[in-house]
């Protein structure tokens, strides 16, 4: 079984997205806005779709302001993850133009630079990256210097690249990658000495890191072949021997060692290396090459019978490989590749799930592995998976619409019912009568105030007493001999005076109590009036709200149906592109092996001729090159 993607390559792709840098730099977060915290919660679980939805909704409803620019940076990173480079670029440019702090500007320039770098716009990337000042974290600063070094290398500005690399001393990983890139670039520019010197520093690297071990192997391969080109076979063998025996580059190393011995004219040792590869899987290009190199070298050693046997062996293996490739081509055409790549379960972190899955045993699987490890193909594949998830999401929304319509209908029915019962509710008329009574009361209180009518504020008991006193007074007035009742009159006056005193001295608090109660009544009446008014308003608004929702739902449904059609079409186009890329890759392999096969067949025929025709027997391989090497390509 083959893992869908090699871990190392996947790491390159995943690490390239800006959001990973965001997570490293901003962890742990102090959350000042729950919506931002929620977006982070999903982001940390690689649920990028939910995270971006949370941030977009927040931005639409009420932008998050309590977290400075963190939400914007996260959103920018997520835009990049979904390949929305223009949106990300706009967002980061906005941050720069908003006269933000130096730290924010640095981070925005860094992200813009990285985006342009990933888009192979090296000059533009350099222009952005050099605008960053000194506020980045050490890790991001190292990444910036590495990107800068690479942009300088693209322009063959080695001295600027060297200066950038010098700043990476504290970061072994970045330093190693940067040195490798510069070393290879120098060699490619013909500066062999400088290039090999730089690569030498990686060649001896002691590390437990698997990525760096792989880079060390790559370096030794690069050095080995560079020394072959410089006609220094001893140095070449030295470096190629350092490549790990059990690794993806071991066949390439053994092949190179063979060539280096060949260069030394040590044909026997060359054969030892190549014979080691003889039984390795022919799918490896180094093995394919060695199959042809073995008989060719044997022929040079005048071991013609062995050469014949090995030419035949090579031809047989090439034939088998061609047949296998033919089957793979047919299988891909029949959709085998797409069946393997189509996710069985579509989840939000589909990318992580799919990258960990194993390819099913199939005809094309061994070849597809090579294709899948190409970064370009991974981009196409990521788009394909993104679209599949987005389509699932749209389909999920589509299923909701009937429920929305039903909900709206139920609400409208309920509303109609309520509206009818409300209309006939007698309590709604009561408020008018209450208002009229309140006005009468207010007028009475005003009159009391104007007339300072203390008796009007007497309590019920006091009123009873007053009424009794009035009766007593009437009785006293009816009596003929008032002098006889002088004591009673005096008592009457005393009692009335006392009552008047009590009521008068308590007038102010009594008056304010009444006034306060009137205020309370006013408030209650006002609230009731508002509620009635709100009820009347909602009677008018509710139908509008229902029709508003209905229009909104209808509009979204229309948009969704259009997008569903579009996404289905584009997924199919993406599938065709995947198949096309696979077919082109397989055809390239096919032509390459066909070429080897032709050369092996030609060499076999030529050797037969030489051995069977007496006039040709003295012509050796040196006078007549066995293959049209180099011409066909």
């Amino acid at each position: 079984m083959i893992l869908l993607f090699k871990q190392s390559i996947t790491a390159v792709l995943i690490a390239s997205i800006a959001i990973s840098s965001f997570a490293e730099e901003r962890d742990p977060h102090e959350v000042k806005d729950l919506r931002y915290g929620e977006a982070l919660y999903h982001f940390y679980q690689e649920q990028y779709f939910t995270s971006i939805t949370n941030l977009m909704v927040a931005k639409e409803r009420d932008p998050i302001t309590a977290q400075e620019i963190d939400p914007e940076l996260l959103l920018g990173g997520l835009y990049l993850y979904y390949g929305l480079h223009q949106d990300a670029s706009n967002l980061f440019t906005d941050l720069i133009e908003q006269n933000t702090s130096e730290e924010i500007q640095d981070r925005a320039w860094f992200n813009i630079g990285k985006m342009r770098y990933q888009g192979h716009l090296f000059n533009e990337a350099k222009q952005s990256l050099i605008k960053v000042k000194d506020t980045l974290s050490p890790e991001r600063e190292a990444e910036r210097q590495n990107m800068l070094a690479n942009t300088y290398l693209k322009q063959k500005d080695f001295s600027a690249a060297y200066k950038a690399i010098k700043k990476l001393d504290a970061h072994q990983d970045w330093l190693t990658y940067a040195r490798y890139n510069m070393g290879v670039s120098l060699i490619k520019s013909g500066k062999n000495r400088e290039g090999t010197d730089l690569l030498n520093t990686i060649s001896h690297l002691k590390t437990d890191n698997n990525e760096l071990k792989a880079l060390r192997d790559k370096t030794n391969i690069a050095l080995g072949y560079a020394y072959i080109r410089q006609n220094q076979p001893n140095a070449s063998i030295h470096f190629l021997n350092k490549v790990r025996l059990k690794g993806p580059l071991s066949a390439k190393a053994l092949l190179g060692i063979g060539w280096a011995y060949q260069q030394q004219n040590n044909l026997k040792q060359a054969l030892v290396s190549w014979m080691e590869l003889r039984d390795w899987p022919v799918i490896d290009t180094a093995v394919q090459e060695s199959l042809l190199a073995i008989p060719y070298t044997l022929e040079k050693m005048e071991k013609n019978q062995l050469a014949l046997q090995n030419y035949r062996y090579a031809i047989d293996n090439y034939k088998k490989e061609l047949t296998s490739l033919k089957h793979s081509l047919q299988a891909v055409k029949k959709g085998e590749l797409l069946s393997a790549l189509r996710p069985a379960i579509v989840t939000e972190n589909i990318l992580a799930t799919e990258y960990k899955k194993e390819l099913p045993e199939s005809i094309s699987a061994p070849y597809i592995r090579y294709l899948l490890n190409s970064v370009d193909f991974q981009t196409i594949h990521k788009n394909y998976l993104d679209l599949i998830y987005l389509k699932k999401n749209l389909s999920k929304w589509k299923q909701q619409f009937s429920a929305y319509y039903l909900m709206l209908k139920e609400r409208a029915t309920y509303y109609k019912k309520q509206q009818h019962s409300t209309k006939n509710d007698s309590r709604l008329q009561l408020v008018t009568r209450l208002k009229s009574r309140r006005d009468k009361l207010a007028a009475k209180i005003l009159k009391i105030e104007h007339q300072q009518d203390v008796y009007a504020l007497a309590s019920e008991d006091e009123k009873d007493i007053l009424s009794s006193l009035n009766k007593i007074k009437k009785s006293l007035n009816r009596l003929h001999s008032k002098d006889e009742y002088a004591e009673e009159n005096e008592k009457y006056n005393l009692f009335r005076g006392l009552l008047l005193w009590d009521i008068s001295t308590d007038y102010t608090p009594r008056y304010w109590k009444v006034k306060n109660e009137l205020n309370q009544l006013d408030k209650s009446l006002s609230l009731t009036t508002k509620r009635i008014s709100s009820l009347r308003q909602s009677t008018i608004n509710a139908p509008l709200s229902f029709s508003g929702y209905y229009k909104r739902i209808k509009n979204k449904e229309k948009k969704l149906n259009r997008l569903l059609k579009k996404i289905t079409y584009i997924i199919r186009s993406q599938e065709k592109l995947i198949e096309k890329q696979a077919l082109i890759s397989l055809q390239q392999r096919y032509h390459q092996i066909e070429n080897y096969h032709t050369r092996a067949s030609y060499s076999l025929a030529r050797l037969y001729d030489r051995l069977t025709l007496p006039e040709n027997s003295n012509k050796n391989i040196e006078n007549q090159p066995p293959v049209d090497m180099g011409e066909k390509k």
């Binding site: 742990p28 977060h29 959350v31 729950l34 915290g37 929620e38 982070l40 919660y41 999903h42 982001f43 940390y44 679980q45 971006i52 939805t53 977009m56 909704v57 639409e60 929305l84 480079h85 949106d87 390439k252 060949q262 260069q263 004219n265 290009t285 394919q288 090459e289 040079k300 294709l371 190409s374 370009d376 993104d386 679209l387 987005l390 999401n393 749209l394 929304w397 909701q400 929305y404 909900m407 929702y549 739902i553 979204k556 969704l560 997008l563 579009k566 996404i567 584009i570 592109l577 890329q581 082109i584 890759s585 390239q588 390459q592 040196e622 006078n623 090159p625 090497m629 180099g630 390509k633």
Partner: protein
């Protein structure tokens, strides 16, 4: 002559490696652009539908959300949370390690979204997990809340009290 042939072979060898390394450059910029535009459109529509659904199902005057956060979280290994509103169980959540990690890094989980009527309510949350001595630990926290016509947000916080070396469970009502 051997040298000459050797040169041929080296040339072939290098070309072969280069050709296997290069991926078929059959890119389709138009399709790539279509894919990006489509993704943008889908994300936009998804946002609009999200808002529509929230407006429909959880109107502001009844909307009630409960969030859960963790500060440090070293003194309490959270297993599950149960939430009751006015005596009714409205949410139970069993945590995965992935979710715990997201909480410890500062993520905030929306553990409940629903509707409640205006007025006073009682919210009770039970936290189950392992305490500082790795013993089974269950704690509850209660809060009285007042729902008005505005949406209501309550945050349940699990905090490490480093002085007491005990976890604390607090609540905060957000404006």
């Amino acid at each position: 002559m051997l040298h000459k042939n050797f040169k041929y072979l080296i040339a072939i060898l290098l070309i072969a490696f280069v050709s296997t390394a290069t991926f078929a450059e059959e890119k389709s910029p138009a399709l790539e652009k279509q894919v990006q535009n489509l993704k943008k459109e889908v994300l936009e529509l998804n946002k609009e539908l999200f808002i529509l659904e929230e407006d429909l199902l959880f109107p502001a005057n009844t909307q009630f959300s409960i969030f859960l956060s963790m500060d440090i979280g070293n003194l309490f290994d959270l297993d599950s949370v149960q939430i009751n509103i006015d005596g009714d169980n409205v949410s139970n959540h069993l945590y995965t390690q992935r979710e715990i990690n997201a909480l410890k890094r500062g993520g905030v989980q929306k553990i409940y979204l629903g509707n409640i009527a205006s007025g006073e309510h009682e919210l009770v949350a039970f936290f189950t997990g392992k305490g500082p001595s790795k013993r089974h630990y269950k704690r509850g926290t209660t809060i009285k809340i007042e729902k008005t016509s505005a949406p209501l947000f309550v945050e349940l916080k699990i905090i490490d009290n480093l002085t007491k070396q005990q976890p604390e469970f607090k609540t905060k009502v957000w404006e």
